[in-house]
């Protein structure tokens, strides 16, 4: 049971590695850009002024705003590179003839993608914390991390929906699911409010993220059955 799963993971890695590494590069570059810009402003205006502006300016100074769509783009890159080959070339049919259960197979694919995204998010978070803790005291770091959390969670939602949509056999249902995904993502990609603003929504967002992970199993079953 273990060996075929490892082979599966390796196959998925081959499919996704360039897209994933490319997006990681973009994410790291964005992170470096954010902090270079902040340090530049500090050099120009003085650290205390910048700190006070970040804390108390109205409209709020969201110095990390460039990072908003990075986890989402990473998820899209991984999701598309992983699932689009399956459906365009109908390769999924071959995979489904492997000696592991269909559900295990699909769950393995999805699990691989989620692990990849988690690694990416951990990298982003680690890098962000490293720079932020160096520059700012905890009174800024804590609310800013709370503001970042919905964006990091949005990557999982996007990936799960991409997997679900890709596996869906019906064309118009794909469009319908994309519309649903778009509006669900609007809850996650919030910004323009002071740091730490959406902390109260995080439990619900985490719940939504966890619940969304099963969606691909539902549509892949319909794909497997050959329904229209």
């Amino acid at each position: 049971m273990k060996r075929p799963l490892l082979h599966l993971f390796y196959k998925e890695w081959i499919k996704t590695r360039w897209a994933f590494l490319g997006m990681l590069l973009l994410g790291i570059a964005t992170m470096l850009y954010i902090f270079t810009a902040v340090e530049n402003k500090i050099t120009l205006q003085g650290a205390k002024t910048i700190l006070l502006r970040i804390l108390y300016d109205e409209p709020p100074v969201i110095y990390y705003a460039s990072f908003r769509y990075i986890p989402l783009l990473t998820a899209i890159a991984v999701g598309i590179s992983q699932y689009v080959p399956e459906i365009t070339q109908k390769r999924i049919r071959l995979t489904l003839h492997l000696p592991i259960g269909n559900h295990t197979l699909i769950a393995g694919m999805a699990g691989f993608g989620l692990v990849l995204l988690t690694l990416g998010n951990l990298l982003y978070t680690g890098l962000f914390l490293y720079y932020n803790v160096r520059l700012f005291p905890a009174e800024i770091t804590r609310p800013v991390m709370i503001s970042l959390t919905p964006w990091l969670l949005s990557s999982y939602i996007a990936y799960n929906f991409i997997a679900m949509i890709a596996m869906e056999p019906g064309k118009w249902r794909k469009v319908a699911y994309s519309v649903i995904a778009w509006y669900i993502l609007q809850f996650f990609l919030v910004g323009d409010r002071p740091h730490g603003a959406f902390g109260a929504s995080i439990p619900v967002l985490v719940l939504m993220t966890i619940l969304s992970s099963g969606g691909v199993l539902y549509t892949s079953q319909r794909f497997y059955k050959g329904e229209r």
Binding site: R134, P137, Y183, H195, F198, M208, G214, Y218
Partner: protein
């Protein structure tokens, strides 16, 4: 089995998405025309009573016109000119420009400069605002020298007060120790619950910060020529403080709202006067002041109450303005019928679900359930199946959102089930 549960979760996602979008779409398409009259209330020092002004719309053929009417509490109406006579303190600049400003008002000798210097307006709130715990402590004498400009921000942690030098993001140990010692000397229990300062730069420099320690005692923290100046303040009637607003006029040092909603004025000599106002919990009001009066306005559900105090903060009079509720338009009625709830997300309070009154939407929901039931039976789903019942319950509760959801995610039966039901029919 697992798949069917996953499908229900997917339906709930569809319901959430629909419930956040469709109400907005409906509002954009069928909006109600504007034009509610705007009401305002003022206290006349001549009349010693309130005058209410209202902007009324009169819709003629194709264009709306409006005009302001004035009346008092007893319904007597006033013309524009007579109203102008009654508000001398408010119209200082206009009257002075026209040279019509009187020498005495209500027996007191006045000049335009005196009156306009006594006029001020400010907001105050019972709700503490955005608070990060990191603030700038400016020196009282910072206007004398550039070297007294602080380069750090401070916070009060369980270990004591910490001054963080911004450039290096390190704690200035020596300065922090000096201030912590001074605070400890006055029995300050760390950490601080909350700190307040005036938004006005010069007042903030002069007063410093009002800090509540973990035992809810009130302190005033400030700095003079780099030495800490800490003062323990009395609490108003020994009540815990909810929020502090600093005053804009010379006779009000601060406005304190206590935990039970009472409002206290703190005078420059640090004594308190309790204001005869109703509980201000959860509200923010306005304070307008002039030569004779201090006028507080508090909002409420569908009204606004104005309280007039004299300069010694004794209540003279009060009056409530009621806002007539907007009559419900047909679009509004249909909205309650069609859309049972609205899901949204606000910044500090997280998610909310706004339900319409049940009586309105339940009938439409039941009609939709009947349609759904018809389609389910046509597809061969029997009511004995728990998941079909769940689907129908979703339509009953969520109405049109549930209807969209269960048809977006089809529930086709597997071969096994079809064979089983066929054999059951035989």
């Amino acid at each position: 089995m697992l798949i069917k549960i996953i499908r229900i979760i997917a339906v709930l996602f569809a319901v959430t998405a629909a419930a956040s979008v469709l109400p907005r779409l409906y509002d954009t398409t069928f909006s109600s025309r504007g034009g509610r009259g705007h009401k305002d209330i003022r206290y006349s020092e001549i009349l010693k009573d309130f005058i209410i002004s209202e902007y009324v719309y009169s819709s003629e053929k194709s264009h709306t016109a409006g005009q302001t009417i004035y009346y008092d509490r007893h319904g007597k109406s006033y013309s524009r000119d007579s109203v102008d006579q009654l508000f001398l303190l408010d119209n200082v600049s206009q009257l002075a420009y026209e040279g019509r400003f009187p020498d005495t008002i209500c027996g007191m000798a006045v000049t335009p400069e005196l009156v306009s210097s006594e006029a001020f307006s400010q907001y105050y709130s019972a709700q503490p605002g955005l608070y990060y715990g990191l603030c700038e402590l400016r020196d009282r004498k910072s206007y004398t020298s550039r070297s007294l400009e602080p380069r750090d921000l401070f916070r009060i942690t369980p270990e004591g007060i910490q001054f963080i030098v911004c450039e290096t993001n390190q704690i200035d140990e020596e300065k922090s120790r000096r201030f912590t010692t001074e605070l400890t000397r006055l029995d300050f229990r760390f950490p601080a619950l909350r700190m307040w300062t005036s938004p006005d730069k010069s007042v903030s420099e002069a007063i410093g910060y009002y800090v509540t320690d973990s035992k809810n005692y009130l302190y005033c923290l400030s700095m003079e020529l780099s030495t800490p100046v800490v003062q323990k303040l009395e609490k108003p009637d020994n009540k815990n403080i909810r929020n502090v607003n600093f005053g804009k006029s010379s006779d009000i040092r601060a406005l304190l709202i206590t935990e039970d909603g009472d409002t206290y004025i703190q005078h420059p000599d640090l004594s308190y006067t309790r204001l005869a106002l109703p509980s201000s919990l959860g509200k923010s009001g306005t304070l307008n002041g002039n030569l004779f009066y201090r006028i507080f306005t508090l909002p409420d559900r569908n009204r606004q109450t104005t309280f007039v105090f004299d300069r010694d903060f004794r209540l003279l009079d009060s009056c409530s303005l009621y806002y007539s509720p907007r009559p419900q338009s047909t679009a509004g009625v249909f909205k309650e019928l069609l859309l049972p709830l609205r899901i949204g997300q606000t910044a500090w309070n997280g998610f909310y679900a706004d339900w319409s009154p049940i009586k309105r939407f339940i009938w439409f929901n039941l009609i939709l359930t009947a349609i759904a039931l018809y389609y389910k039976r046509k597809n061969g789903n029997r009511l004995s199946d728990a998941f079909t019942v769940t689907d129908l319950l979703l339509v009953v509760v969520f109405g049109i959102y549930g209807f969209i959801g269960i048809f977006a995610f089809p529930l086709k039966r597997s071969q096994k089930e079809i064979v089983k039901s066929k054999s059951a029919d035989l």
